[in-house]
């Protein structure tokens, strides 16, 4: 079906199911309970999960398949955002033209940067991309302020032209982004007993695009082109000796992943029409590298999981303050309560970075294949009984995880 093998169809179906049922899955705890703190099923965070998922899927096409470690992908995300916001300012509030323009602009931009950077490989390539991204960030932050509005970020105003739409909404405020009349911010709230589930129009637009992006990535992974990219990763020199020029392939992969990043940037701006320069900072580029490695480099699902993981920490753990901690441990005797709060305190709230760092270290040390490897090991643990393996695992090269898993 869809030109995929059965196993892949299942994987795609699982991704689609997860994406569409996310409002339920991410809100496991009843509203108002102590655990509600850990709910992640509100529109903004769900949108971020999916958007960064798309970003990481695209990044993985470059990093996972060709092994080229780019440290500048945030620049494409930023360029995509700026193009989308300009589209909202000049043309209309419909998200379709904005997203299309952001993909095109990011594609062109990545073509230029890729063309220059791909002349080198390894660390030199990483440094080149990093340099380009930092250059873009600094330009956006100050020099190009007329286009990017500098530190404040590009925002919509009441006196934007919007040729195909209205400059002001019906009630005199700035109009909101929409898809042929469906407002991206409109949310349907469902109360089911103690639970509250939020279904956001913008989220579902993102989710549909995520499934499409995932499908496309799957097709690329399975195509002869994907095989060629994997050959580049395995041994580029040998590939050259066979008379093949690898550069067009790597450049194509670079541009495709740049376009994915542009798509993510355009979606981000569509959900929340603002583009800030800090979206292009090197920390943002580093973030997508972390997402990919955390989830599992070269796997299809891994980067999406990694993206969700990091965004969850950033948004949920950073909001746990001392007040909340005291609430949790209130039932305990005073001395014990304070001790526990004191122990937990450095890891939550402003310490969310540290918790994430520790998790990352643990994953890299114990699960080099990322969260996906963790999942596989668990699966193997349960499957061991019915599949007696004859080989001595101690003296056997570890099998590389299948790229689809």
């Amino acid at each position: 079906m869809l030109g995929l093998e059965k196993k892949d169809v299942t994987l795609l179906a699982v991704v689609a199911l997860l994406a569409f049922a996310a409002p339920f899955i991410l809100n496991p705890f009843p509203e108002g309970s102590e655990m509600a703190q850990f709910n992640a099923g509100y529109p903004d965070l769900m949108q971020r999960f999916v958007i960064f998922g798309i970003f990481a899927i695209g990044y993985n096409i470059l990093f996972g398949l060709t092994g080229y470690l780019s440290f500048g992908h945030a620049a494409f995300l930023g360029v995509g955002s700026y193009s989308a916001v300009w589209m909202f300012k000049l043309l209309s509030m419909n998200v379709i033209p904005a997203i299309i323009l952001s993909i095109i602009v990011a594609g062109l931009f990545s073509l230029v940067i890729g063309f220059v950077s791909l002349r080198r490989s390894g660390i030199y390539f990483s440094i080149l991309t990093l340099a380009f991204a930092q250059m873009s960030f600094n330009l956006a932050y100050s020099v190009l302020t007329p286009i990017t509005n500098g530190e404040t970020g590009l925002q919509l105003t009441l006196n934007d032209p919007r040729i195909l739409g209205a400059s002001t909404g019906a009630d005199g405020s700035i109009p909101v982004t929409s898809l042929f009349g469906i407002e991206m911010r409109s949310t349907y709230e469902m109360h089911a007993g103690a639970w509250l589930f939020q279904f956001n129009a913008g989220y579902y637009v993102c989710a549909i695009i995520l499934v499409a992006a995932f499908y496309l990535a799957m097709r690329i992974f399975r195509s002869p082109f994907g095989l060629m990219l994997r050959a580049v990763k395995t041994n580029q020199t040998r590939l050259n000796y066979t008379g093949l020029n690898a550069r067009p392939y790597t450049l194509a992969a670079f541009v495709i992943s740049g376009m994915y990043a542009g798509l993510a940037g355009g979606l981000m701006a569509s959900m929340d029409p603002l583009a800030g320069a800090d979206r292009m900072q090197w920390t943002a580029s580093g973030e997508v590298v972390l997402m990919t490695i955390l989830g599992g480099t070269g796997t299809l699902l891994g980067p999406v999981l990694g993206a969700g993981f990091i965004k969850y920490f950033e948004n949920i753990f950073s909001k746990i303050n001392d007040n909340v901690l005291h609430g949790w441990f209130a039932a305990l005797p005073d001395g014990l309560e304070d001790t526990l709060v004191f122990i937990v305190h450095p890891f939550v709230g402003k310490g969310w970075n540290m918790t994430l760092g520790l998790m990352f270290m643990a994953v890299v040390i114990f699960l080099p294949g990322g969260l996906m490897e963790g999942g596989q090991r668990l699966a193997k643990l349960f499957r061991k009984k019915d599949k007696p393996s004859g080989d001595d695992s101690e003296h056997h090269p570890k099998q590389a995880p299948h790229v689809a898993e």
């Binding site: 903004d44 100050s142 530190e151 404040t152 405020s173 007993g193 007040n323 402003k350």
Partner: protein, 448 residues
């Protein structure tokens, strides 16, 4: 390729399951129509405190958070009541707001517009915050203010000094108590002219982003009105940590005053470099060379240490003031935390109280009612003397302090002394002043 086989039974089964699945939500749906976003229905109301907890302004953020927690305590009737006792409006009873207990959630802005908006959105969408306050950079404040306008909640800006916040980026749902770059210039220039004479030549080093530019524009215009000449305006990258290469040309430019339009770590570094180069011991054009820092903060003063002595700048407020409001606030802050509050803490505290009071006077949490109650509101007793929340741009007008680095500080918190309290009339400007023109408040948005 795989082949999917459809059986009659399978299709029927799937159809039945899917149908009941689709019907399920409607069973539970209870439409909760509310007049505005996050209308508080229970016995409590939630505020969102969105401050930088990581990144370059984490210190300011921590102090803001302390003040917010103190304000919530006072609003709920705990503690000694602080400035509630000296505040001119007596609408607040110390039993929460309109009988509802005040709760709060916190978030980390990381001093990035994106992260700040994500954090504010989660407060609005997940925690049901009715008001967002915080920010310690103008970029973040403007970004979050725009978000709150769209979402239909009130934004009470804390630490943001750029003209744009209540200038070209002003919003009907946003309010600023802190002073701005124009006021810094207007307050500082007369003192500079009096002390250093009116025939000075100024050299500007400016952080290369929006706030730096408005600060530079404001102070240059204000000093030029007193006869000063602007020799050169040099932009420095925000990420710069070593300013020696920018200081050296100052010596050869013929300037006799250096104005540092820097904030935070930038200012600490540039001032330190300038002092190390011996600028302050130089005689240029027969006059003593001087350094000016238009925007001061206690935390910056601490960072710059010895170098700050005798250097002029401006602040919104100082804990050394002697009015009743300040004394009450410093006392309750000191009792709780053991040290005096900073500028940032005072404006955060004041904003929380002002919002609560506006709700109490309006008798409703509806953002539009709150906007109406705050517009044109005159009050006193929050540490800044008589203050007006101007209706035209939602900016507070009050006295501005000109401060100087103290020669002999008594302790590590006593680093700045008040040189002059510039009266409100002197820092006022027309709402359509060119430095603030270009934006419009729009209409208040109560949201869904």
């Amino acid at each position: 390729m795989s082949k999917t086989t459809l059986t009659r039974r399978g299709v029927l089964k799937t159809g039945a399951v899917a149908g009941s699945g689709l019907a399920l939500p409607t069973i539970f749906t209870a439409s909760s129509a509310s007049a505005f976003t996050n209308e508080p229905t229970g016995g409590s109301v939630t505020f969102g405190f969105n401050v930088p907890q990581t990144g370059p302004y984490a210190d300011e953020g921590a102090d803001e958070l302390r003040a917010y927690e103190l304000a919530v305590e006072h609003l709920n009737g705990d503690g000694d009541g602080g400035m509630l006792n000296t505040f001119s409006s007596k609408a607040l009873q110390g039993n929460g707001i309109l009988g509802k207990k005040v709760d709060f959630v916190t978030g980390d802005t990381q001093t990035k517009s994106d992260a700040a908006r994500a954090s504010a959105k989660s407060m609005i969408e997940k925690d049901g915050a009715i008001m967002i306050t915080g920010g310690s950079s103008s970029g973040v404040a403007v970004a979050v203010q725009g978000l709150c306008q769209e979402a239909g909640v009130i934004f009470m800006a804390a630490l943001t000094h750029s003209n744009d916040t209540t200038g070209k980026d002003k919003k009907a749902n946003g309010f600023r108590h802190f002073f701005n770059a124009y006021m810094s210039g207007a307050a500082l220039a007369p003192v500079l002219a009096k002390r250093y004479g009116s025939d000075r030549r100024a050299y500007h080093l400016t952080a290369d982003y929006t706030w730096g530019w408005t600060q530079e524009e404001s102070i240059a215009a204000a000093t030029e009105a007193f006869g000063w000449e602007t020799v050169e305006k040099v932009r420095t990258p925000l990420a710069a940590t070593d300013f020696s290469s920018y200081i050296a040309p100052v010596l050869n430019s013929g300037a006799d005053v250096l104005i540092l339009n820097h904030y935070g770590g930038n200012m600490v570094n540039s001032l330190t470099n300038a002092v190390q180069f011996g600028l302050r011991d130089k005689m240029v054009n027969g006059k003593q060379f001087e350094i000016v820092v238009p925007l001061y903060s206690e935390l910056m003063a601490k960072g710059a240490g010895e170098n700050i002595k005798g250097i002029l700048g401006s602040t919104n407020w100082s804990w050394t003031l002697q009015d009743e409001g300040t004394k009450a606030f410093v006392k309750s802050f000191g009792t709780k935390y053991g040290f005096p509050p900073s500028n940032a803490a005072q404006t955060s505290y004041a904003q929380t109280i002002l919002y609560a009071d506006a709700v109490a006077r309006a008798g409703s949490f509806n953002p539009c009612a709150v906007v109406e109650a705050l517009e044109g509101f005159e009050f006193d007793g929050l540490g800044n003397g008589p203050t007006l929340y101007r209706a035209e741009d939602h900016q507070c007008f009050k006295d501005v302090l000109v401060m100087q680095g103290k020669e002999n500080p008594a302790n590590e918190y006593d680093l700045l002394e008040i040189v002059d309290i510039t009266p409100r009339a002197q820092v006022e400007y027309a709402p359509d002043h060119p430095m603030f023109a270009g934006g419009s408040l729009g209409k208040c948005n109560p949201g869904a």
